[in-house]
Amino acid sequence: MRFADAVEFSLAGLRKRKLRTFLTASGVTIGIGALVSMISFGKGMQKNVTKAFNASGLFNTLMVLPAGPDPASGDPDDRPRPAAPRPGRSGPALDDAAVAEIARIPGVRLAYPDINIPALIGLEGEEEFRLIRVVPAAVAASRAVQVKWGRAYASDDEKGVIVSRTLVRRLGAGDPAAAVGKTLRVKSVSLDFGRLVAFALGGARSGQGLPLAEGAYDFPIVGVSDIQAFGGGPGLGSNDVLIPPGPARGIERLPITSVWDLFRMSGGRPGYSAVSATLGSLRDLEPVRSRVREMGFSTFALADEFAEVTRTFYVMDMILAAVGMIAIVVAALGIVNTMVMSILERFREIGVMKAVGAGDGDIRRIFFFESGAIGFLGGAAGCVLGWVTSLLINRVANLYLAGLGMPYVDYFAFPIWLFLGAAAFSLLVSLVSGIYPARRAARVDPVVALRHD
């Protein structure tokens, strides 16, 4: 029997039972559709996060941390620490002198301490609590901060702040362009030593509350940064208020911004909790890192962490694919069921074909192709279904998120291999599903089949 004849036989068989073919193929369509949209979602997320990582400019940044147990390090094996600063956890202080020294290492373009000032931010009456990030003008002007309305502050001493579009919205000023030039009121809290004494003596019993003093400062908004999808990666995009170092010095603040700071400070060691070193290029990472370690600090580079992120996405892809696979397995069982039913129905026809000279191989091929055709048709339709569904979900999600002021993002990615792979996979699954029915059809005894009514 020729290939073309076997295909024709198979299609004729399917045409004869249109509804059942349609229903069985629909199972495959749904399974492949689910798989396609799941994987395209995973790929879309990966693409967006990679883009955000790239946009954040943090690939070129080396974080310098005081030596000691390092909470930010995801993979301690990667970073053998120098033996010297280990004892007593008393490495060198990450102070201004250290920052200056790091800045002098060849390959380092800029080094600046990570300072976050907790403050109440007010704009036209509305107030929210935020961490103000101190960022040098050079960084604020880089692509790590995407100022869309207004401009970045020009110097480290300019009295002006950059706020995020999210914050502008939260504070009730709808149009980000109009927010430029308005005044942002920053209320910081600092320890009031007078009240601290009273608090220590009277404690909570006196009902005075914490011994904190408030200070208010006004800054003009010079620029508004656009919201970046996925928070712009773990970069500066997640900070709602950026301030240059000059005016930041004038803000009195609580020296505690995190539990980690509290922990470290209780050791009585002064210095910054972290310093960011911007590198000229990623090639400088290794020499700079080893130099910084020699100074007795530990380091953390996002470039290393990105490998971890990639691995995480790989796992995510696997999980999404596994969910899609459940539908595929169900569809495959549907094919087996349909094909076995078809054999029972066409029992006599199989006998007739054998009586006029069909070999086992001919019968096997007819049924095998039939099952393959179901898978191929279902798979092709599944690609379309997955694509359309994804576009719809993307549309609805963006419509909803646009209401929250988020920029448009393609949450799904459709690489061509996804469609080709899905169609091929569907064909493969259906062919595998067809193995048992096809063998069973080929084994039909013509004498029994012809006696059968």
Binding site: M1, D5, M353, A355, V356, G357, G359, D362, V447, L450
Partner: protein, 232 residues
């Protein structure tokens, strides 16, 4: 003088397992079919006629004994060789026609040619020729449901001849037909036998129907040959 035997069986036996009981459908059948002869196999229902024909047609395999057709030992063939034998060596016609209902008369006749890898154009041509030979040219594009019983059996005969077999095996081909149509079909088979020298083995429980045309009559009872008569 006797013609060269084209079919030869020796001590042929077939037993079936019905539940746990072994039932002998055919026992110790030794017979010959001469080339170009019209042989009638008669007997009451259950006498083993159909079993014998299925064995000769390569649809079934014997439990004992041997079958030789045109020098080939059918009884020793594997599944694939048997399929080839059914395709080219022997054509079969059944009581219930066994046409594929979804296909037209022409397509039914084409069926054996498809399994013989004949290309489409040639297939069409040969199938049309065969239908003409059984007098059904004008019904070629009708489906079996639109044909009378006699017409359906003619299609089945044309199909059996598609790959030019040396022998034609007919299992009660007239069983589902009225007597006039039955006579027509027997006449058709006899004509093929007479004009083309086709060897025909026809099973019938009605000896009277085949008496006129059969060269040899083999009578079966309880799976055994009880008598055989032949005329030159």
């Amino acid at each position: 003088m006797n013609p060269r035997p084209i079919v030869r069986t020796a001590s042929l036996g077939k037993t079936y397992l019905v539940g746990n009981v072994r039932v002998a459908a055919l026992e110790d059948v030794t017979m010959e079919v001469g080339e170009g002869r019209f042989v009638a196999v008669t007997g009451v229902s259950g006498s083993g006629k159909s079993t014998l024909l299925n064995l000769l047609g390569g649809l079934d395999t014997p439990s004992a004994g041997t079958i030789e057709v045109d020098g080939a030992l059918i009884s020793a063939m594997d599944r694939e060789a048997l399929a080839r034998y059914r395709r080219f060596g022997a054509g079969m016609v059944f009581q219930s026609f066994n046409l594929i209902m979804a296909r037209t008369a022409l397509e039914n006749v084409e069926l054996p040619l498809i399994f013989a890898n004949v290309d489409k154009k040639e297939r069409r041509r040969r199938a049309a020729d065969l239908l003409e030979r059984v007098g059904l040219s004008q019904r070629a594009h009708h489906r079996p449901a639109e044909l009378s019983g006699g017409e359906q059996q003619r299609v089945a005969v044309a199909r059996a001849l598609a790959n030019g077999p040396r022998i034609l095996l007919a299992d009660e081909p007239t069983g589902n037909l009225d007597s006039r149509t039955a006579a027509e079909i027997v006449g058709l088979l006899a004509g093929l036998n007479r004009d083309r020298g086709l060897t025909v083995v026809m099973v019938s429980h009605e000896e009277g129907l085949v008496r006129e045309f059969a060269h040899d009559i083999v009578r079966l009872r309880d799976g055994r040959v009880v008598s055989a008569e032949g005329r030159p």
